[in-house]
């Protein structure tokens, strides 16, 4: 585990999480959530959990983002908060 890399990725994860819940556009929020999932994937590769990392990259970031985009497409894109 490289702790400098760990610290930087942790910061990026927190920034992505704050941005995902503060953006008014729901499609942008969903895409930022996908970026958050990929940063989580990097974090787990850094900690030696490669199996968790590639499951997160394919299932969490890939399929999850696709499902979210499909749902936002069928509903409203704008949000008030």
């Amino acid at each position: 585990m490289i702790w400098q890399l760990d610290l930087i990725i942790c910061l990026f994860v927190i920034i992505c999480a704050i941005a995902a819940i503060n953006v008014k556009d729901l499609l942008a929020a969903v895409i930022i959530l996908g970026a958050y999932s990929f940063f989580m994937c990097l974090l787990w590769t850094n900690m030696g959990a490669v199996d968790v990392a590639f499951t997160e990259a394919s299932v969490g970031a890939g399929v999850g983002t696709v499902l979210f985009i499909a749902a936002v497409n069928r509903t409203k894109r704008r949000s008030k908060d």
């Binding site: 819940i21 958050y36 999932s37 974090l43 030696g48 959990a49 199996d51 968790v52 979210f68």
Partner: protein, 136 residues
Amino acid sequence: MLEYVVSKFNFWTYVILVGIGLYAMIGKKNLVKKLIGMNIMQSAVILFYVSIGAKKGGATVPIFMGDAHAAHGHGIHEIIDVASYVNPLPHVLMLTAIVVSIATTGVALAALILIFRRYKTLNEDEILKIRREAGV
């Protein structure tokens, strides 16, 4: 004190992420935002579990690095240094948790589309207002 905070920043990240997710689930009015908060909280819990299994000081993935052929041929068993491998048990548990979390998200999104078809909005306050006016 500062050294203690810096050396445990994975757990601090976990605490901050759970706070962000809980705030999004309680404070935000849009239902998609609540769902995003739920996702953030789930991956924060997964981060906590994987951080328990991780080790500092060059520990790698749990694949045996020694001379397996020689050990097999002559019945010699090398002593495996446990400190050089990370603990794989939390990883296996969290693999299941990731798949379950994506299934939960799928069901929640389907329910969300049904709510939108019925009320034409995703704002929690407006949905409650419509229900109150209808006398439910």
